[in-house]
Symmetry: C2
Subunit: 350 residues, 2 copies
Amino acid sequence: MNRNGIPLACPIPKTDFDHVVMGHGGGGKQSADLLRTVFLPMLGNEILSRLEDQATLRWPGGRLAFTTDSFVVRPIFFPGGDIGKLAVTGTVNDLAVGGARPLFLSAAFILEEGLSLRDLERVVRSMRDACLEADVTLVTGDTKVVDKGKGDQLFITTAGVGVVADGISLSVQSARPGDRILLSGPIGDHGIAILSQREGIEFESTLESDAAPLTDLAQAILRAAPGTRLMRDPTRGGLAATLHEIAQASRVGIRLSEARVPIRPEVKGACEMLGLDPLYVANEGKLVAVVPAAQADRALLAARTESAGKNATLVGEIVEDESRMVILDSVVGSPRVVHLPAGTQLPRIC
Amino acid sequence: MNRNGIPLACPIPKTDFDHVVMGHGGGGKQSADLLRTVFLPMLGNEILSRLEDQATLRWPGGRLAFTTDSFVVRPIFFPGGDIGKLAVTGTVNDLAVGGARPLFLSAAFILEEGLSLRDLERVVRSMRDACLEADVTLVTGDTKVVDKGKGDQLFITTAGVGVVADGISLSVQSARPGDRILLSGPIGDHGIAILSQREGIEFESTLESDAAPLTDLAQAILRAAPGTRLMRDPTRGGLAATLHEIAQASRVGIRLSEARVPIRPEVKGACEMLGLDPLYVANEGKLVAVVPAAQADRALLAARTESAGKNATLVGEIVEDESRMVILDSVVGSPRVVHLPAGTQLPRIC
């Protein structure tokens, strides 16, 4: 990671865009480029430039975690959830993977004129249920309306605050060679559930988004493995983008074992049909933890006691590698490099 | 105010909308109706249902203020500011009027595909300047991109956290008969500046948005008049909507002296030409404080020492009135009732 926290190993193309493209929102190279060229030069500071999923702030009486995300998923309803559930769990999870206990949320709605109030009610109800499940309280909000044709039904931006207990110090820069990588369950469910809804693809069994709060899982891992280096939720850009972030920020390489990465047969099938790589498909209820080797088994056992982690596995290892590559040890054939996606396979997935 | 914190005195029409209309975002009756029928039944809790501009939360070691707003102003650049400046000052001010000292902001961007990166840079630069002016740090953020035609250049949602010093206890429910109403300066500048830009209206002198941080002004008033009941910034719906909020929540009436409400000649002229009432036009750098009569002169003097309050005046008084009316004592003619606007005169003003 360079001074601004931007990946170096995968060469970033000079900004050759004059305008925003969909890939700027994809969580890959183009997103990083926008950060590097527009946001950080202007707004960069000691905290923002760390590029964690949440800011951890000194606060009278303890540490406060603070995060925000906008949700623009299309369609707004999909198998296993909707934009409201996503808006709550997404922000809860950005706090949880920082080791924080999420407490309070804000929600700001941008409604398109003409949105059905029944749809809005359904979304708000789902936010209520998600808040109950995640044990957070929505305490402040805002509503704006934009003219028909200037929005897309509704966008929701949530922000969240939580407390970080003393002694917890997680950072995407702290992975060390020899550490193990824990993944909490099968990947790609969210992205493929959205895509199937969009494209009208039917599965034999129902494939649902994995959207779920990760607080209990994260806390269980931290209790069992207090040496945990960092946690992340692999959303936009999927597991591949998350592993790249870790490799770049910690200046290490990553070996990933394909055989150990759980993928549901429906997801595998859909990906083959659609020419997608599940490593790049978004998740909304999965957690990646980097844990010292000596604590990895305890972390794994603890994760499996939590519903969000019952299919957890150790999927790989941090290795020394100056070029900070993510290498997949394939089930068949020789190892291959997992590249950081440039733009986005699936736009507006969250 | 009824149990859900919604005005009662102005009869609310039964929801006869199936769909979102522009007025749902206008800060008037239709906004209140959406809150009452959709958001509060589902999400209402002790804190949210207070309907303050910010949530004040118990927190280890002190009290924390937390707020959020989305900004969808059109056009994104206007005399005296842009959407970026507004996004910073708007959230800072929602904290400041709660008596908090704003510390940290988050910013979430929803970019429309095709937005000029030069425009984005200009907005981000202006956010940086506004953060410096308001003495806050932007510590976390997010960027999403939506397809061309599914947004409108860019929307920004900011959230903010601040600390509330011990002893400060402001509430929109605490105005008492006899209290004086302080207004920090001339009204309507922001709304008319936006409208002039939209409609291509030229003024002899330049009329600029009043967007500015109110922290120092709010703190100066609190120091001089520690008995201050509440403060508000009269944004959407203008001074009229703010006074209605106070009247309803505190179960009081309000007498406003037209002669004492400062309005720039350009704003008065534009309002006459366009058939608008400046009482309903949005402000982005004005503060309303309700202060006990005995401390009103001190509050006024203190306000005038601050640049954001140099034109402050005492514009009215809280009176006993079970029907919670806002009455304007006109310069000419008999007193008139100031109604709560139903929808919005000027959509997308912030």
